[in-house]
Amino acid sequence: MKPVVETVNLKKTYMLGKVPVHALRGVNLKVYPGDFIAVLGPSGSGKSTLLNLIGALDKPTEGEVIIDGIDISTLNEDQLAELRRKIGFVFQFFNLIPRLSALENVELPLAIAGVSRSERRKRAIELLEIVGLEDRMKHKPTELSGGEQQRVAIARALVNNPRYLLMDEPTGNIDSKTAAEIMKLVKKLNEEEGVTIILVTHNQFVANQAKRVVYIVDGVLKEENT
């Protein structure tokens, strides 16, 4: 089976002023369809950098990120943007557009992709039903709880039928009880809907929900099968 995303000796160096910061020092990772991988590491370990790279939000300094068989460093900005439509993002701070309703937020990736109004409405409602928010569709993010906002964000991430879902500390900003509910939903999506998930966290409990956990320390991966 071909991996949906693969990194080969991936390196990323930032310049912090004049000081180079080696965020990633040669990461090799293969993610196959149906995987649920947790990348566990302390802050500053390079896990967000890794997520940005496999989310095609950034380009590597060295090495390769191969998404669906394509090396992303060969793509221009427009092609990267189109590639991102095949990737679902879930952020720690939800990153919903505050002035749009839950429904409109979920519709947004489809609107960007140029899908017709009626089609995207249908699809967005479907997704909101899956995450259990069918009766909160008209609410603005400020009128929703943290858990509900994250559900909207998950629905938004899935609305384009992405190849995989990238989650950056998805429970980092919500209470533990709600976090458990969110993780239940994430697990369900992986097991029942077959969504491929890559999750980044520093929380052992969250990581334990995944099928596979990899540790990242100082920009290097250490694998451990659970």
Binding site: L57, D58, D78, R84, F91, I97, R99, I112, A113, R117
Partner: protein, 423 residues
């Protein structure tokens, strides 16, 4: 992203910051309102003046005057047009139908104890009537063989207060006074005339033709009193075709060895129109500056908006928005501001033009401005052409977009990772 989606997305963003959007839009409103008001008033003013000019005009006439100051050494000093020169013109230029010599002096009229400043004009009444239909009697009858002491009064001379209180009646005697220099000493001269006719009101500037603030005496009397030199010769042509006007003008110029200038009424109208076009462009330019300021306001506020919404831009990019989609969204905001601003601006501009035309030009249209040439109150109706309106709208939107380009480009160029990290 589809254009309509980009637009409705932009609309949502603009609506969120109502006060800011309103203030930004206000700049465009003021700029466009100024342009519309000034252009429509300028056009209205031009139309009013053209109408005034045309009243005093006959389109088939030429005015011949000695070309004194303008010459480049070709003019003999002491060249004058004489009253008899009319015969030369009528004999040598076949296009000519009628010729009238005009002698004019500034002077006063005295009736009882009322004294007024007037222009005293000596003409052949019969010929003058043929050329200018406005030279017609309100009271009395224009005499075909006037006696030497006959005078015809312009409407405003007879009725200076514009309330039908005449300074004198028909057959009453009036005194005409003027100043001559004897050995460099100014001396007042006065003669008694008898009023034969009071003219109908003419209006207009009386440019070349009869005017309400003049008095008319027979040409023979004028020659006796002022001499043979005449100030202008008015020529009526057989038709008003441009070709006829040009040929006749050229022939008359040649006839007097290029020492006269020949002005056609049409040429004057054209000149006035040219002058007004320039004035209008100038006015629009001034108004354009205010729109420029509005444009800078748009740019300023949009740069702030881009900074504030950096994170949002990052989100959009993470969700697959291309650079041009981001650009489209921000330009849509500028278009929106431009459209709303221009539409409101056109409305306010029309309103302003109406208000100004009623109050702002009252003094101008009244007695102060053109009293000497004798004009009645001039009304300026602002003229709004579809071209002005469409032009203003286009211009407003264009300026908004132009100044929105740079902020939009900045937004589009943001790196997704950095934008998402922005607090």
């Amino acid at each position: 992203m589809k254009l309509t989606d980009a637009f409705s997305y932009a609309f949502g963003a603009v609506r969120l910051r109502k006060l800011r959007a309103a203030l930004t839009t206000l700049g465009v409103v003021i700029g466009i309102a100024a342009i519309v008001a000034l252009l429509s008033l300028g056009q209205g003013f031009q139309n009013a003046i053209t109408v005034q000019l045309q009243r005093g005009f006959a389109v088939d006439t030429l005015i011949v005057t000695p070309r004194s100051e303008m010459g480049m050494g070709t003019i003999e000093p002491g060249f004058y047009l004489l009253v008899n020169d009319t015969e030369q013109i009528i004999n040598n230029v076949p296009e000519v139908k009628t010729v009238v010599a005009v002698i004019q002096r500034a002077g006063y009229i005295k009736a009882g104890n009322i004294s007024e400043m007037v222009t005293i004009i000596g003409v052949n009444f019969t010929e003058y009537m043929k050329i200018y239909s406005t030279f017609s009697a309100e009271m009395g009858k224009i005499p075909l063989n006037p006696s030497n002491d006959t005078v015809i009064l312009g409407a405003r001379v007879a009725d200076p207060w514009e309330n039908d209180t005449l300074i004198c009646g028909i057959n009453d005697s009036v005194e005409l006074l003027w100043t001559v220099r004897e050995n460099h000493i100014p001396v007042n001269v006065s003669y008694t005339f008898y009023v034969a006719v009071i003219l109908e009101e003419i209006g207009g500037f009386g440019f070349g033709g009869p005017s309400d603030r003049s008095v008319y005496i027979p040409i023979s009397t004028a020659v006796d009193l002022f001499g043979e030199k005449c100030d202008q010769i008015i020529v009526q042509l057989k038709d008003s075709k441009e070709e006829t006007i040009n040929t006749a003008s050229e022939k008359i110029r040649e006839l007097f060895g290029d020492q006269v200038s020949v002005i056609s009424s049409t040429a004057i109208l054209n000149t006035v129109e040219t002058v007004f076009s320039t004035v209008k462009i100038f006015l629009a330019g001034i108004a354009g500056i205010s729109l420029l300021v509005a444009g800078i306001g748009i740019m300023n506020i949009m740069i702030v908006s881009v900074m504030e919404r950096t994170r949002e831009i990052g989100i959009l990019k993470a969700l697959g928005a291309k650079n041009r989609t981001i650009m489209l969204i921000f330009i849509s905001e500028a278009v929106l501001i431009g459209l709303i601003g221009s539409t409101l601006g056109i409305g306010f501009g029309i309103l302003m033009a109406r208000v100004f035309s009623r109050f702002g030009f009252a003094g101008f249209g009244g007695r102060s401005g053109m009293e000497a040439t004798g004009t009645t109150a001039m009304t300026i109706a602002p003229v709004l052409t579809p071209i002005t309106l469409i032009g203003a709208l286009t211009f407003g939107v264009l300026v908004s977009v132009l100044f929105g380009l740079y902020p939009a480009w900045r937004a589009a160029k943001l790196k997704p990772v950095e934008a998402l990290r922005y607090e």
